[in-house]
Every structure is written in C-alpha cells, then in structure tokens.
C-alpha cells in the first residue's frame, strides 16, 4: 500500500508551549485513517497541519517534514492555495456559504477557473450524488444551503469539497454536531468515497472509528501513542495506554 501523505518528526508550538511532541505517521492511499484520542490531545491540531490551516493562527510554529506524494508541503515553493485544492477539509460544524446549494458546490470550480456551465452542472450533480445528498436537494438547487438540516448541510459541505477533486480529504469530527441518522448516512458516504479519495478523519467516537476506518492512530497529550490497522489496534493494542483508553479507563 502506498502512502500518499507522510509526516515525520512533527513538532508544533503555540508560542513557546509545545503542543505536538514529535512523531512520525503515514497515510495509506484510498484508505480511511481515523485519529482518535481524548479532547485536547492534539489530533485536530495535527490534522490542520496537513492542509496548512494552522498558518491562519498567529504564533504557531511547526517543524518536521510533511509530504504529499513526496512533495514537501511546507517548502517555501509550495503554493498553499494549490495545496488546499489537493487536500480538502470538512469541518466539525457544517459551514455552507450563505448561498444556494448550487453556488456552494460551484464555488470551488469557479476558483479553478472553470466557466463552462455544462461542465459545472455536471460536476455539481456528480459531487452531490457522491455525497449522498443529491436526492434530497436536486429539486431545490437554488435554495439557500442554510435552509437545510444540519446533516444535509454537512453532506453539502462534503460535496463542496469533492467538487474540487482533491486527493486527500481531512475531516475534523464531521458528525459530532449531527443526529444519529445523519451520522449513519455520512459514515456510509465516507466508505463509498474511499474508492476515489484518501480520508483522514478525527473522531471522538470510537465506534465510528472502528466501523469505518482501515487504520487508526491514537493520540494522547500531543504524542502519537500507537497506530496501525484498525482491527489490530482495537482488538490487540500493543500499548497499555491504548488499551486503557479503548476500555474507557480514562478520557
């Protein structure tokens, strides 16, 4: 299995305080990798390193080597805007733009300079289908995206990312703000999506990690404690800390 993204010797500082303490991790292509761990363990912080969203926060220093298909994403020559087209992101809270569903999905295409209406129409439909929300919105494409339910909004956001056709999709607890039914729909969607995309998902929900992910990485206090095949990690964890966390002895 080839690794599409790798991170080595990751250190991250908020001001002088070290939040990530140096670890190595890789992500298999066309697989779902779940990042689990208690709140504040650094998993979301690490996720935001992978598309350089941490650049937006003042006073953050990141060291280590982050590579997407062998290219250093923190190299001065790397165009952040292009990187983010390759590494998409879905946030914890559904955050569609206050525009119509259609315009939400078309936003990324217009950024790419695609102007042909037919092409846009086609990709909008495709993306919404892949995100399993097409049937619910197809008659209301001109309707304000904010008028839909939270679960539908989140799938619209997923479709919006898919339309840009990234290689990797980062997801920061994408279902934690949603009801169980929406949650299940999104989980099904993700499993479908891994045929075409590599997905890295941060989740609080260990059942979710075990249901959908191929690989799991367990974080604690800014360290990567253990990572590996999800089945192995859940059934036969190598580290005592992992075992304790999975069995609810802390966290």
């Amino acid at each position: 299995m080839t690794q599409i993204m790798t991170a080595e010797n990751v250190h991250l500082y908020y001001g002088k305080k070290e939040a990530l303490h140096g670890f190595d991790i890789g992500f298999d292509e066309n697989q779902i990798t779940a990042l689990i761990g208690p709140s504040g363990c650094g998993k979301s912080t690490f996720l935001r390193c992978l598309n350089r969203m941490n650049d937006l926060i003042e006073n953050v220093t990141i060291t280590g080597s982050f590579k997407l298909q062998g290219e250093d994403i923190y190299s001065p020559r790397m165009d952040v805007v292009k990187l983010r087209k390759e590494v998409g992101m879905v946030f914890q809270q559904p955050n569609p733009f206050p525009l119509s569903v259609y315009d939400n999905i078309a936003f990324g295409l217009k950024l790419k300079g695609i102007k042909d209406k037919q092409v846009i129409d086609q990709i909008v439909e495709e993306s919404l289908r892949k995100a399993a929300v097409w049937d619910e919105v197809k008659d209301n494409l001109k309707k304000d995206a904010l008028a839909f339910s939270g679960g539908q909004q989140q799938r619209i956001c997923i479709a919006r990312v898919l339309a840009v056709q990234p290689k990797v999709i980062l997801m920061d607890e994408p279902t934690s703000a949603l009801d169980p039914v929406s949650n299940a729909k999104i989980e099904d969607t993700l499993v479908e999506l891994k045929k075409d995309y590599t997905i890295i998902i941060v989740t609080h929900n260990m059942q979710q990690a075990s249901r959908i992910s191929d690989n799991t990485a367990f974080f604690l206090n800014g360290d990567l404690i253990e990572s590996g095949k999800t089945k192995e990690l859940f059934l036969t964890p190598k580290e005592k800390l992992t075992d304790d966390y999975l069995n609810g002895r802390f966290g």
Binding site: N51, M53, L56, V81, K82, L83, R84, K85, G88, M89, F91, Q93, N95, P96, F97, P98, L99, S100, F107, G108, K110, L111, K112, D144, C157, R160, V161, V164
Partner: protein, 300 residues
C-alpha cells in the same frame, strides 16, 4: 398564624420598590412619546399649512424652480435635486473607500493597528460639523475654484465635505458587518483553495452585503440631514445646479440660512416648514429602507 397572614398580605418593601421602578420607566417613556408625537405634529401641521392655509400648489412646490416665498413662489425642486445629488455623490465616493478601509481593518491589519484605526475613526465622527465646514470653506472651496473655475461653491465642494464627514460612519458600520461574518465561512473558502482575497471578495463581502448597504444608507441619512457644513460651502443660491461648481442650495442649507429671517405664520415661514417636512419624510424613507434590507437578510 395571624402573624404570618398579616406578613404575607402587606406589601413588602421590595414589592413597592419594584412597582416604583416600573412606574418611573413608564413615566420616562410617556414623556419621550409625547415629545416625539408633538414634534411630528408640529412639523406636519406647519409643513402642510403652505398648501392647506396659503393655498399654494403642491405640484409647484415639487416641480417649480422659482423660490421666493415672499412672492408666493415656492418651487423647491432645485433644493430637492441638490440635496439628493450631494447625498448620492458623497455616498458613491465614500463607498469604495469605506469598504477598502473596513476590509483592511477586519481582514489584514494586526489587532493593534485595528484598534488605533478605530480610535482615529471614532475621533473623526466626533468632530463638530462646523469644523468640517470651516475646512471646506478654507481648503475645499478654493481647490474646487482652481480645478473647475467659477466661485468654487456648489455641489462638488458640498460632496467633498460630506464625503469626509460620512466616511467614518460608513467605515465603522461596514467594518462591524464584516466582523459579524462567521470565521467559519472564511475557513471554508480558504480550505477549498481560495486565496484570501477570493474569500473576502466572493464570500465575506457577499454575505455582508445587507450590512454594507445599511452602512451606506446610514451615511446617506447623515449626508442628507447635514446642514451647517453644507451651508458653508454650497453657495446658498436657490438655483438649479448647472454644473458641479455653480452655487446652489440644499433643503437643509436653505433652512439654516433662512430660519432667522421669517416670522411664524407667514408664507415664507410655512414654506420653510414644508422643506423641513420633506427632510422628515426622507429620513423616514431611509429608515424604512434600512428595515427592509435588514429584514430581507442576504440579497440574492
């Protein structure tokens, strides 16, 4: 038992205080309502007297170009036109600058810079209009004279002074509306591979459009109602403006310059009240516009 009954049935000190507070609030409110209603009544009553008591024609008032109330000529069109022209031109001039500065304040400037800028802008709001007018008279009018000839008094000078005067209002209201746009929109746009400018231009400005329009209309309300500073640079001749540099008058400038020269109850006096009525109605229109825009939310 009787003791307790007695205690519960008599009013406690707190209850009395509560009631007193309530009465005080209602009293203040009633006073304000009476004040507003009487002002409105007075303006409407006096303002319509020109037409109901002096039997002058409303059509003449709205379309006539001759203003000489002493001789029963009350054509207010030149003032209405000039008022709208300076207001709209000032707003058109101020809007791009205001949006630019507001974007800088909310998106680009470091926090300290924003604070300093805000302080300066608030200071500008606080400068009395007579000071703006004085600067207008001493600096802007000669400049206009040099640029386009004539006396220098007129619409261009008025526009430039109003532009500076409404700029701080429009900037701070625009900045507030930009700041109210959730960070999550910006993050979503950036995460999709938008540049910072694309995120601002395509998402933030669009989402903030109702707020920005409201800011512009607030600026226009201020420009429309500004009297003193405009009076000092507009030329004060009730003539149809022939160009940007010919002396003319606005509704407000005519009011301030003439109100000392008329006697209550005369036609001249009533005609001025009619001008005041137009101002009142226009501010009502501006207010309604703001309400419609804020209620409609995002304009598609």
């Amino acid at each position: 038992m009787d003791d307790i009954k007695q205690k519960l049935l008599s009013k406690s000190k707190q209850t009395t205080e509560d009631r007193r507070g309530k009465i005080l609030c209602y009293a203040c409110l009633s006073l304000i309502i009476v004040l507003i209603v009487s002002i409105l009544y007075f303006i409407i009553n006096r303002g319509t007297a020109t037409f109901t008591q002096n039997y002058l024609s409303l059509t003449q008032f709205l379309t006539g170009k001759q203003w000489n109330p002493g001789h029963h000529q009350i054509g207010a069109l030149p003032m209405i036109v000039t008022s709208f022209l300076v207001t709209i031109l000032a707003a058109i001039l101020a809007t791009p600058f205001a949006i630019g500065v507001a974007i800088f304040m909310t998106e680009y400037a470091p926090r300290k810079g924003t604070k300093a800028l805000r302080a300066v802008i608030e200071l500008l709001v606080g400068i009395p209009s007579v000071v703006y007018g004085y600067i207008g008279l001493m600096v802007v009018v000669p400049l206009v004279r040099k640029l386009i000839g004539g006396t220098g008094f007129g619409i261009l000078a008025g526009t430039l002074v109003l532009f500076v005067m409404i700029l701080p209002t429009v900037i701070s209201l625009t900045a507030d509306s930009l700041k109210a746009i959730p960070v999550s929109y910006r993050q979503a746009a950036l995460a999709l591979g938008a540049t910072k400018w694309q995120a601002i231009y395509k998402i933030v400005l669009r989402a903030a459009l109702p707020g920005i329009l409201t800011a512009i209309i607030f600026g226009m309300t201020r420009a429309f109602g500004e009297a003193l500073a405009v009076q000092m640079v507009i030329g004060n001749a009730v003539l149809m403006p022939e160009g940007l540099g010919t002396p003319t008058a606005t509704l407000t400038s005519q009011l301030t310059s003439q109100m000392g020269n008329t006697v209550l109850g005369t036609v001249s006096n009533n005609a001025l009240w009619s001008l005041a009525l137009v101002l009142l109605l226009m501010s009502l229109v501006f207010n309604l516009l703001i309400r419609v825009i804020t209620r409609e939310g995002v304009i598609k």
